[in-house]
């Protein structure tokens, strides 16, 4: 940061963009790591035809659930890294001690996480839907539910990651803690897609997803910030 930049009074907007920029830069530095969650998504989806049989009928029946569950798992697996790298090299403590409110930094990290994992997943989902013979009419709904749902997954996941930061084998514990909290998102997301397949209007599920997203956007950054402070004390 230049001397001129340091002289400027801290502002929430600037703190947010600075953190976001930093996390995105770090994420893009290791290209191979970026691909991993996406590869996991595709590989995991492929396991189902291999396990269940290639029949289109059965696969298309389970497609909404499988596509959603795998999105969940891919997000879960990448959550541990959300705070861990910064914890390991001390930048997390800096963030907590910073003069800017912590929830801003947390929100920026969550956005970075979503941009790098949730959003690509959402964009990849039509391809995955193809592999499971999801009816074409349902694909836009699938993408929409993932678009609404993956941020919720990142937000809730951040709370779990904050609670387990610094724990030695925190990764598995993180998944155990977060999964029950993911249940509503899974039900609503997969349910909306199934509704479309059945010819039912999914707008109720979509509306609920939007409500939950709004709720989580306002609450989870504070919960995660508190959890970080607790974990680092």
């Amino acid at each position: 940061m230049t001397a001129a930049a340091l002289d400027r009074a801290p502002s929430i907007g600037r703190a947010f963009t600075a953190q976001l920029q930093r996390d995105l830069t770090i994420a893009f530095r290791s290209r191979s790591e970026l691909i991993n969650p996406l590869m996991f998504y595709v590989m995991g989806i492929s396991m189902f035809p291999l396990g269940v049989g290639p029949g289109a009928e059965r696969l298309s029946e389970i497609a909404p659930g499988v596509l959603w569950v795998l999105a969940l798992l891919s997000t879960l697996l990448s959550l541990d890294a959300l705070f861990r790298r910064d914890f390991d090299d001390g930048t997390l403590e800096q963030l907590v001690l910073n003069v800017d409110p912590l929830f801003v930094g947390v929100l920026a990290k969550v956005l970075a996480h979503w941009l790098v994992i949730g959003l690509p997943l959402t964009l990849l989902s039509p391809l995955a839907a193809l592999m499971l013979f999801l009816p074409g009419a349902a694909v836009p709904t699938l993408v929409l539910t993932l678009l609404l749902g993956t941020p919720i997954l990142s937000l809730l996941g951040a709370v779990g990651a904050a609670l387990t930061v610094g724990l030695k084998r925190g990764g598995l514990l993180l998944t155990l803690i977060i999964l029950p909290l993911y249940v509503p998102v899974l039900i609503l997301g997969a349910g909306a897609v199934t509704a479309v397949i059945d010819g039912v209007d999914p707008s109720a599920q979509l509306a609920w997803l939007a409500v939950i997203l709004a709720l989580m956007l306002t609450l989870t950054p504070f919960a995660a910030a508190l959890a970080l402070r607790v974990g680092l004390e």
């Binding site: 803690i177 029950p180 909290l181 509503p184 039900i187 609503l188 199934t194 109720a204």
Partner: protein, 250 residues
């Protein structure tokens, strides 16, 4: 109001709680056990058999209290967690620690008895209906709180982390319940209801009431005792606990 405020302030001292809670714990547990025994015996032997379900409905006298209590316990845990985080009352942390295993056991009992009840009634051991599914998720939530508490090495940090998770879980429970109900109306062909008709004849309802109240009292008593244990453990290096230990030595 002033009386309540005094109690609230006194609760800031775990030692005061320990010294006060003993007789209450014993009393509540005794009353609870009596209520449970009476309620269960009444429900087992005296209540008339159900028109549709025959005698297996008697499992209700165990299943329903266990289910109700496991949910109340989680809410209590979440509220205690909030108290810990907002007012930093140490005793609240001990309530969270003591309540979690009790609630989890009740949750398991509710799930198992529910499954056993389901077998003769609907022909399957497990059914994904609203109650069983949300009860299962509740068990996962309990497990998360207990696991997190165990995993964090420092006592105070562990307590606060578990409290955060308990509060998040508590806020999430209504969301989970609504979404599970939704999930069912979407997928189920027939909806199962565990309490078959809301209007139960008095001979069936009364023993259930006694049983539920008994379970509540029992829970309260055992919880007080468990919190007392947590107080002892947390304050084990203090003078008053050391004196207490010495006085209990053979």
């Amino acid at each position: 109001m002033g009386r309540l405020k005094t109690v609230w302030h006194r609760l800031g001292s775990p030692r005061w709680f320990f010294e006060i809670s003993g007789p209450w714990a014993i009393g509540a547990t005794a009353i609870g056990l009596t209520g449970i025994v009476v309620g269960l015996a009444w429900g087992l032997a005296i209540a008339p058999p159900d028109y549709l379900q025959g005698n297996s409905f008697r499992i209700m006298y165990l299943h329903v209290p266990a289910a109700i209590l496991s949910e109340s316990c989680y809410i209590l845990m979440g509220l205690a967690g909030a108290v810990l985080l907002i007012w930093r009352m140490k005793l609240a942390d001990m309530v969270v620690a003591a309540a979690a295993p009790i609630g989890a056991v009740f949750c398991v009992v509710a799930l198992l008895t529910g499954a056993i009840w389901g077998r003769p009634t609907w022909g399957t051991w497990w059914v994904w209906d609203a109650r069983t599914t949300s009860m299962l998720v509740l068990l996962f939530l309990y497990f998360g709180v207990m696991a997190l508490r165990q995993a964090v090495p420092r006592e105070e940090t562990a307590g606060r982390a578990a409290a955060i998770l308990a509060v998040v879980g508590m806020v999430d429970i209504p969301i989970i319940k609504y979404s599970v109900d939704w999930w069912l109306t979407l997928h189920q062909t027939s909806t199962f209801k565990l309490t078959s008709a809301p209007s139960m004849p008095a001979e069936m309802y009364l023993p259930l009431l006694v049983s539920v109240l008994g379970f509540y009292a029992f829970f309260f008593g055992v919880l007080l005792f468990g919190v007392g244990n947590e107080v002892l453990v947390r304050e084990r290096r203090t003078q008053w606990v050391n004196d207490l230990v010495r006085s209990r030595q053979p």
